[in-house]
Amino acid sequence: MFPIILLLLPVVSALVLLALPSSISKKVAMGGSILSLFAVLFTLNTLRIDAASANLVFNKIWLSSLGSNLSFSIDGITMVLLLLTNILLPLIILSTFNREINKPKAYFTMMLLMQSALLGVFMATDGLVFYIFWELALIPIYFICLFWGGEGRQRITFKFFIYTLLGSLFMLVALIILYQHTLNHSFAINDLYAAGKSMTMEQQAWVFWFFFLAFAIKMPVFPFHTWQPDTYTNAPTQGTMLLSGIMLKMGTYGLIRWLLPMVPAAVSAYSNTVIILSVISVVYASCIAIVQTNFKRLIAYSSIAHVGLICAGIFSYKAEGIQGALVQMFAHGINVVGLFFVCDVIQRNAGTDTISNLGGIRTVNQRFAFWFLIIMLGSIALPLTNSFVGEFLLLNGIYQYNAWYAAIGGLSVILGAVYMLRSYQSMMLGNTSSNTLTFASLKKSETLFFSVIVIIIMVCGVYPKLILDIAALDVLKMIVH
């Protein structure tokens, strides 16, 4: 029962929001998303008490002639992502407080629909349903970027759309191929797993690359990343947060749930290639991030680097790697949303996010510098922050696969420190510039936002068991199979 409640809550809040006047849209959206957060916490509690509870599964006959049923289920791996989505959504909505939003009704409706679609992606256990939610998630974010985005958005959002659509269409072909190999003609995930295993090596290879294309574009991994920096830079802050905080995880989640167990022979044959690609994207994106002059763009590239490491960890196919990937997905979601909000605050107060035009913000606004410092340290994986745990486990997994890859992938930590510390230094320290002289003190909503993010960073860093335990059993189960 829980899956359908989680799915429908955002839709219902969107409908309520549409019915009420636009002056209170923000609050309604906020209320709806907090309700969803409570729902997911309640689900988490159920999962802890009884992982086999019937309430965690939803199954309804749907298009029987297509072999597809509306089936959703929640296990530990899914739970991490659900938690991330529903924690981030209230934060993302909070980030619009004290900001003027054009057409707030439509904006928040889109966000809530996006939330519903994302939850659907993470919970679906039916191939066609998964595909539908996967595409569905694209529509609201496309319109968010198109309608509320910056200069030149038509071209950029279009590139983004075509890119991701290309990938997902190939995924659709892979799903159909798998379906045709199922014995009882069904899209149920377990039947697809069985079908995938029964296929010849060549067929598995096709399915593997088709799936990988979709996921790699979504994450994105080198060389499919070209849509990402422009889109992140151009999208409105909340759009960027949705894209980087949650939507990116669709790709990595897809790898864990839909690719690795689906075609094991192809995975073991090609994981080397994929890890090499991922490691390339770690180093490549980090190097580009170092030379970025625009802070938002810098974060965009850092995101590619982080996700590259996650991808490599997943393909190491070790318990540590996948656990690390899950922790890091969670941590990266929190950190990157924090960073983009930092960028938003700077942009609003200083009127620019070009690094060289800023400086000395710390002398004007010490508190802000403090929040930024912690979020930045979180993102460069300092011990006792959340992503340290993730990166450590990831590198451990990759090391078990191949020590060299781990050594090169480990550069991400060092290079990450380089670009983050450098940008911090030139934006926050030094002499104030004309842009930063009038840097206003933080609003209440902004302080609230930062304190929530920082608390999560610290708590997950000091006591990572909170996240690790959720998925531990399911990851082990997956590795053993």
Binding site: W62, L63, S64, S65, L66, Y131, I132, E135, L136, L138, I139, F143, L146, F147, R153, Q154, F158, F161, I162, L165, L166, L169, F170, L172, V173, I176, I177, Y179, Q180
Partner: protein, 465 residues
């Protein structure tokens, strides 16, 4: 069969309206008549209630089997929606009775095309449908482009009809019958030899039917006729006429010549690939919304022909039926918006006319967005399920490369559909006057939107046939 009688009766009544001067109540009567026809068709579909009076097979000329009845239901639905949407087309024109009668007779022609069991009826059906269309294409009498469309359509159409007749004659020459079931029995018997006469006949039939369905490379008339005709007529051509043509095309193989698609698969593949690419790629360069939709409809025919080629697949006919239904409803919605927007900008249907539509009327913009997303095949809209089925069937028969081509072609399609969407959402409109629409139009737009969303999510239409 009952539907033919009802609608033909309505047509005659409409002609009489001119003489006895009861034009005022004509539209309600016609709408009621179409509703009755729809109800009758649905009842027939569910349990053949009326077959006591009329044999399902009419003198060996028409055969109202499940295939035909399903398509009759679809055609009647399209016709009814079309009449409701284009209510003002008849109110505005001075001679509405003639036009209405022509439309009603065209509907009868469509019925014949989906239910023929004799090639004579195929020919008659096509003619009954086409001749009113030639006239209606030119119904904007003062417009040069409308006249051009009419003449072009007439010349090209009658030429194609000639080829069709020639094909039927050659077929008759080699088999010795017009009856589809006799032809089927003879051509599938063991001692049947495919003579050159038969082959040429088949190729002529295929060409003529491709022309009627406006599949590339027989598509040249479509853009000019679509853009020249009044928008209402264009939307009838793009939905009703296309549905009838594709159904007749499929029925040809379903009843008479089941082995032809496989034997002539190369011709079909050429038709499919040409339609997919020519339709999609040329549409990219269009700036007139009607021409753009014309080319997009050519590309949709490419998809539909996949199901015609693999009609023997257990899902083939289902898939085609669903595709045609989804496509027609979507196209009706799209043309409805194009028509309203066109009227606002003095008959100018350029893409620029859609600039900033979301600010002028969000409902229109929303409906058109949903319709275009559906045409682009974005889930969970019905267009996605339609395309999904086609890809599925092609993969089922091992045509992997065809699937890849179809995917690439539909990616190109996304480009031009989004051109309109982008214009609606980010374009700067030359006039900021809100577009007013009537309550009926609002309700219709909502119904169409719900149909586009619901048809795919609810498996009913898919499993109907």
């Amino acid at each position: 069969m009952n539907e033919i009688i009802i609608v033909a009766g309505l047509g005659i009544l409409t002609l009489l309206a001119e003489i006895f001067n009861f034009k005022k109540i004509l539209m309600p009567v016609i709408i009621a008549g179409l509703v009755v026809a729809l109800v009758v068709a649905v009842l027939e579909l569910q349990g053949s209630y009326f077959n006591t009076t009329f044999d399902a097979s009419v003198l060996g000329m028409l055969d109202f089997d499940r295939f035909a009845t399903c398509f009759v239901v679809l055609l009647t639905t399209i016709a009814l929606l079309w009449v409701l949407i284009n209510y003002n087309y008849f109110v505005d024109e001075s001679n509405k009775a003639d036009h209405l009668a022509l439309i009603l007779f065209a509907i009868v022609g469509g019925y014949c095309m989906v239910s023929y069991s004799n090639f004579v009826m195929l020919f008659l059906g096509i003619e009954i449908l086409s001749i009113p269309m030639y006239v209606l294409a030119g119904s904007k009498k003062n417009s040069l482009r409308s006249n051009e469309a009419s003449l072009k359509y007439f010349l090209m159409g009658s030429f194609a009809t000639g080829i069709l007749l020639f094909g039927i004659a050659l077929l008759y020459g080699s088999v010795g019958s017009f009856d589809v079931y006799i032809i089927r029995a003879k051509t599938t018997s063991a001692d049947f030899v495919m003579t050159p006469m038969f082959t040429v006949g088949i190729i002529m039939l295929l060409s003529a039917m491709s022309f009627k369905a406006s599949s590339a490379p027989f598509h040249f008339w479509a853009p000019d006729v679509y853009s020249g005709s009044p928008t209402s007529v264009t939307s009838f051509m793009a939905t009703f006429v296309k549905t009838s043509a594709i159904a007749a095309f499929l029925r040809l193989f379903y009843t008479a010549l089941p082995f032809v698609p496989e034997t002539f698969s190369r011709i079909f593949l050429i038709l499919i690939i040409a339609s997919l690419f020519i339709g999609n790629i040329i549409a990219v360069f269009q700036i007139n919304a009607k021409r753009l939709l014309a080319y997009s409809s050519i590309s949709h025919v490419g998809f539909m022909l996949i199901a015609v080629l693999f009609f023997a697949d257990p899902r083939g006919i289902q898939a085609l039926y669903f595709y045609v239904a989804a496509y027609s409803i979507t196209t009706l919605a799209a043309f409805m918006v194009v028509k309203i927007v066109g009227e606002q900008s003095d008959g100018d249907e350029n893409i620029f006319a859609f600039n900033g539509l979301v600010k002028r009327n969000p409902l229109l913009a929303g409906t058109l967005t949903i319709a275009l997303l559906s045409m682009a095949g974005i889930p969970p809209l019905s267009g996605f399920f339609a395309k999904y089925n086609m890809l599925f069937i092609a993969l089922n028969h091992g045509y992997f490369w065809l699937v890849i081509i179809a995917i690439l072609a539909s990616l190109v399609g996304v480009y031009y559909y989004f051109k309109i969407i982008i214009a609606m959402f980010t374009g700067v409109s030359s006039s900021s006057v809100p577009i007013k629409i009537t309550l009926t139009q609002k309700v219709l737009l909502l119904i169409l939107t719900l149909l586009i969303i619901g048809m795919g999510l609810n498996g009913y239409v898919l499993e109907m046939i």
